[in-house]
């Protein structure tokens, strides 16, 4: 008797809980690294916290961190959808197919996939024009290198990363024709020990500027130990390494977008869109350029930031050739976002880079 009573009250409580929950919007986040990585995932989680702050009790957020890209991701996303999420942000390129697969099974749930290119009726894609930030980094790097050797720690050979390498390269080359890029593919977004090893390998081979497209602050620490190597914060400000070795950074600011999209779900106005914002819209921030950068270089870099922000300058402006010498952009022409040879699917290096892109 007692037991049945217990069960009944539990059922009642559960019922109450569900009704109480009915008018809250559930937002789920899937992260590729830990929230404390100090980089990519850290910034996405800041966006999540901004959503909580903006809507208070009306929203309930959940997240799962360190989710491997691939089959595991599909399981995690499915679970979130089953638990009643109304909106799910999947925040890494490798979640693209898992997101699309799960979205088919849950047509009423809204999905937002970061940095991908596959859209569906209930899947939006959003990304930031990080390559604009890379242009600024390339400019500073080209001016500051003394060995003319710039090391680049890349993660996976996907368009987003390749765009970054190209953008940094052409802007470094513009101010310093002797500059060379050494590129290491770490095949990971987050592995501090490996990132540190990669940075050390580049430094030992004479690189005195390190750009990174991996998420931890380990390369910053390696550069600091070396003493005379310049770095840039990636995804997050990484300000604890300022003013040197970190002389500037690219900061991802997802908060306004996350708040806006959550609002859209609440209002019932959510539609599948493709968002790709840069410095102008505030999705890409340039972290403070420290005093370790000479004043004239800093002024040039800030002017570049302004030109990119107001649209008077495009980071990929011709004449530019592909690596094999075939023309890509004519004099004064700017790159298209989509289509053949568009930025979204960029899978080629530009002329002057000596390495090859892994398949």
């Amino acid at each position: 008797m007692k037991f049945t009573k217990l069960l009944t009250s539990a059922a009642v409580a559960l019922g109450l809980a569900t009704t109480a929950m009915a008018d809250t919007t559930k937002v789920g986040f899937v992260y590729v690294g830990p929230v404390g990585d100090g980089g990519w995932t850290y910034e996405h989680d800041k966006g999540r916290l901004a959503v909580e702050e903006a809507f208070g009790d009306k929203v309930e957020t959940t997240f799962v961190e360190s989710v491997p890209e691939g089959a595991d991701a599909e399981r995690v996303i499915t679970q979130m959808a089953l638990q009643g999420a109304d909106l799910i942000f999947t925040t890494s390129f490798g979640y693209m197919d898992p997101t699309i697969n799960v979205a088919k099974k849950f047509p009423k749930v809204k999905f937002e996939h970061a940095t991908g290119y596959k859209q569906a009726d209930n899947v939006s894609v959003y990304s930031a024009r990080f390559y604009e930030g890379r242009a600024v980094q390339g400019h500073i790097a080209g001016k500051m290198t003394k060995t003319n050797k710039i090391g680049y720690i890349a993660s996976f050979p996907i368009p987003e990363v390749i765009r970054g390498i190209n953008s940094a390269y052409i802007h470094a080359k513009k101010v310093n024709p002797d500059v060379e890029f050494s590129i290491i593919w770490a095949y990971t977004w987050f592995d501090p020990a490996k990132e540190a090893d990669a940075a050390k390998a580049l430094i030992e081979q004479g690189a005195d500027v390190i750009l990174q497209h991996t998420d931890s602050t380990a390369p910053q620490a390696a550069a600091q130990a070396a003493g005379n190597v310049v770095t840039f914060g990636q995804a997050s400000d990484m300000g604890e390494y300022a003013p040197f070795p970190r002389v500037s950074s690219i900061i991802d600011d997802w908060a306004p977008y996350y708040v806006a999209r959550t609002q859209a779900v609440m209002d019932g106005t959510w539609e599948s869109v493709s968002t790709w914002d840069g410095i102008g819209a505030g999705m890409v921030g340039i972290g403070e350029i420290s005093d370790a950068v000479p004043a004239d270089v800093k002024a040039e870099a800030l002017a570049l930031v302004d030109a990119l922000a107001d649209g008077s300058y495009h980071a990929f402006t011709g004449p530019l050739n592909k690596q094999d010498g075939t023309p890509w952009l004519a004099e004064g022409e700017t790159a298209q976002d989509y289509g053949d040879d568009g930025l979204a699917g960029m899978n080629f290096y530009l002329e002057g880079i000596t390495a090859e892109i892994p398949n």
Binding site: G33, P34, V35, G36, D37, G38, S66, G151, P157, S182, I183, I184, W185, A186, Y187, T188, F190, D191, P192, A193, K194, A196, D197, A198, K200, A201, L202, E204, Q205, G206, A207, S216, T217, A218, A221, A222, Q224, A225, E240, T354, A355, E356, P358, N359
Partner: protein, 306 residues
Amino acid sequence: MDLSAINPVLLIASLMVAATPLLLAAIGELVVERAGVLNLGVEGMMIIGAIAGFAIAVETTSPMVGLVAAMIAGAVLSLLFAFLTQFALANQVASGLALTLFGLGLSALMGQSYVGIKPPAMAKLDIPVLSDIPVLGPILFSHDPVLYIGISLTAAVWWFLKKSRGGLILRAVGESHDAAHALGYNVIRVRILAIMFGGACAGLGGAYISLIRVPQWTEGMTAGVGWIALALVVFASWKPWRVLLGAYLFGGINVLQLNLQAAGIAIPVEYLAMSPYLITILVLVIMSADKSGAPASLGRTFHASQ
């Protein structure tokens, strides 16, 4: 392609650094497994060692104290595993996995206020005259002390298992705990001591990453080294020197492939990236052709009444 950009001396020196956390964790797990216990919690104990060592080193400004704290932390966490498997007779595989999950979670919690802090630097053991010898100096005589501890630990474990009475007892417990029990040895005590040794080694390996190799604290920073250590013990046929060889191979090829990439050598990156795993497995599999198998009681639960 510019191979001359790679400095072989610096390369060897940095591969030794890259191999050390793996070596420490694997040599500890080797002793645990030779005592007949399969502890899959290496990753969890490493990460706890990484944060405990880091936190204590920052608070006391002494990296040495931090390293000792890391060993204690690893050993304490392993006691939890020891309690579950030796007294509560829980399944070792499940308990080990639980230990890893617990360690990862707890370390993230403990480390929240340590993100972005720089630890006190560990002085290198620059031996005055010896470290100035060209080539040999930077390779052999100018590392941090822990690297030497790793190598001497390998020698000590080899000697202990092979030559000492204590090692004989430990191996007996690992091969047949019933026979060892019948001979009057305290199986549980031997195993608990082995588990704690394994925990201390894993903790030290973790702290090596957070204090010396990287050096900083980031959540989840061991990134799978514990799992590689587990695999290494198996591929090394539970033999200490092979663990050393395997760890240096793995660490070495990893560093080498990064260097080759940086030098822009024309080998496809995909092959370079998988080479550490492939070559280490290949070499150790060929070496283990002598059919030395796993300890016979590995992973089996012991209770005196059974």
